[in-house]
């Protein structure tokens, strides 16, 4: 009962607050304080886990007890430190002593940054750095210093912004100094080839010499077919994760994919984005460990003896020019898939054979449609009704330009589905907030995501 009384008081108080702010603060302090004290520490930690770092920082100013709790949470969630744009030695020193759990560092180079001093402080205060991301405008000497200071690094991510500063041999020296590396991520954001000679033999040799490497990502790194083949022959059999992204047409796409299937026997995750490229006559043996596949292509045809990839559970397919039977064939090679994300170009000509292939996927539970234009949705209805065991749908309309009438049409598809399958709960996620034209069937749970 005392709780109830207190609540009455607190309601009373908040009524007064609206009249006068100053009165409220004094009331709060004199009559009742510390609302959170009714919760135990675990619950408070759970509540705080919903807050982002900025909110947790605000909490530091509330009271001593809450400062301690919010700082504990801050330290535990802070794994990565970004540094460089506004370099200040004293701050770096404080931050690296405060966030003792940090083991990932992102360094962005700027003119005032003293790299030697920076990595000294990092080395001194943080003992467990295993991830380093560099946004490169670095000078070549700096790179050697990095491999000397962090010889135990496990993950290295290098983003190339300007090509003229980088000599290929220095990147390969950097790699050779980091013999514990497990993951490498190279991304090229400049308009040119990173190295005048392309992604050359020295770097490939250096990667091939790394004993523990299991995870490779190349974004817009121009590698010749020969170099890629020799990399796959050397390292393919150890790789668990491989991502290759090109935003332009790649002539060697068939060769690349074939080399991957020929060599990578223990891969878990494969991500190949060869936009608009044509891949022909792909052969494969089953990779029993493969669970995640992302394939983006113009057209992909499979050879007659392409083995099914039975272990794949998550599949993303983006295609702009596939024919109905080709696309159906691809789908049928992933018989046990649980989650599919589709991004179908409007030019794609996908009809009955594909719907049949979708209905053959016995384990499919989640289906996502990504679209850039309204036309991408033209056969959502047929695909959705073919996915008879699917209960979780996601419409991700990337630009948020879908008209209200098209939204209503799409929604109708799922209303009908929910009515037909009235004993199941159908989940539907939609990007962006919409007003509902009418109330939905009870078993259709619609939610909007940002």
């Amino acid at each position: 009962m005392s709780r109830l009384n207190e609540r009455a008081i607190s309601e009373n108080q908040s009524n007064q607050c609206s009249k006068s702010d100053s009165l409220e603060t004094s009331n709060a302090q004199s009559e009742e304080s510390d609302l959170l004290s009714c919760l135990n520490d675990d619950l408070i930690a759970e509540l705080f886990s919903y807050l982002n770092a900025t909110d947790l920082l605000s909490l530091r100013l509330v009271s001593k007890a809450i400062k301690i709790k919010s700082e504990r949470k801050l330290k535990s969630i802070k794994k990565r430190l970004k540094y460089g744009l506004i370099p200040e030695r004293e701050k770096l020193n404080f931050l690296t002593r405060f966030y003792t759990n940090v083991n990932e560092i992102e360094l962005t180079y700027c003119d005032e940054l003293n790299l030697l001093e920076t990595i000294c402080i990092l080395k001194q205060n943080l003992q467990q750095i295993n991830y380093l991301r560099l946004d490169l405008y670095y000078k070549d000497n700096d790179l050697l210093q990095i491999s000397k200071t962090f010889p135990d690094l496990k993950h290295l991510e290098v983003n190339f912004w300007e090509s003229e500063y980088i000599k290929e041999e220095n990147i390969s020296l950097l790699l050779l100094g980091l013999s514990s590396l497990e993951a490498i991520k190279f991304s090229n954001y400049s308009n040119n080839n990173v190295f005048i000679s392309g992604f050359g033999s020295q770097v490939i040799k250096a990667i091939a010499s790394l004993h523990y490497i299991v995870d490779l990502t190349f974004t817009q790194m121009f590698i010749s077919g020969n170099h890629f083949s020799s990399l796959m022959k050397a390292k393919g059999k150890h790789l668990k994760c491989l991502r290759i992204v090109y935003s332009e047409k790649l002539v060697d796409a068939s060769l690349f994919l074939q080399e991957i299937f020929n060599n990578c026997a223990i891969l878990n995750s494969l991500h190949c984005a060869f936009y608009d490229s044509t891949i022909v006559n792909l052969k494969s043996v089953n990779i029993p460990s493969l669970t995640d596949v992302y394939l983006s292509f113009g057209r992909l045809t499979l050879s007659m003896n392409f083995e099914k990839l039975e272990s794949v559970e998550n599949l993303t397919l983006c295609s702009t020019q596939s024919k109905d039977d080709e696309f159906a064939r691809i789908l049928s090679c992933f018989p046990n898939v649980k989650y599919i994300c589709l991004r179908l170009g409007y030019s794609i000509d996908i009809y009955n054979i594909t719907y049949k292939a979708v209905s053959n996927l016995k384990n499919l539970r989640k289906l996502k449609f990504m679209s850039y234009t309204e036309k991408d949705f033209f056969n959502v209805k047929e695909i959705v009704s073919a996915a008879q065991r699917c209960v979780d749908f996601n419409i991700d309309e990337v630009w948020g330009t879908l008209s209200d009438s098209k939204f209503t049409t799409l929604l109708e598809v799922f209303e009908n589905l929910a009515n037909e399958r009235s004993n199941e709960v159908i989940k539907l996620r939609f990007k962006g907030k919409r007003t509902l034209p009418r109330s939905l069937p009870e078993n259709l749970k619609l939610s909007f995501i940002n």
């Binding site: 908040s14 009742e32 009714c38 807050l51 400062k67």
Partner: protein, 165 residues
Amino acid sequence: MSAIKFETSDGFTIQVERETAVVSKVVKNFLEYHPTDKCTFHLNCVDNATLRKVVEWMRHHKDDAYIETESDESDEERSQDVSIEMDPWDANFLNEDLFFLLDILNAANFMKIKVLFKNCCKKIYLMSKGKSSVEIKRLLKERCDFTDEDLQRIANKYEWMARVN
């Protein structure tokens, strides 16, 4: 029809149909190991008003198939972006003052009602996100035990700690 009773910390007893009561994982687990038609659960830390509110929620959601499975929507989904997806009925239902919400949160935790617990967290999150420390202080009715000097010192760091985040 069998009925389950709950006894609240302030001495009230509420009778609840079995299918409603088993929304609480505690009740469900108990009944699985001790099949019985009649039993009373003593809720030491849940008062009458809170329990009535919680039971109202359980009654509304007793037929939801997803209540059980919701927990496999792992935390990884949350960390990407605290998606504030919430059943509109729940959002409206939880339009209460913070004090009451904390009671409900405690009760949901005690009775192991995961979805209600999560939704309470989300609601409290929505009330507190983006607020300044002064506003939060007011919201939590927390007594500030810092000296002005302390506050100044902590606040000075705030600006650039926020920047690295």
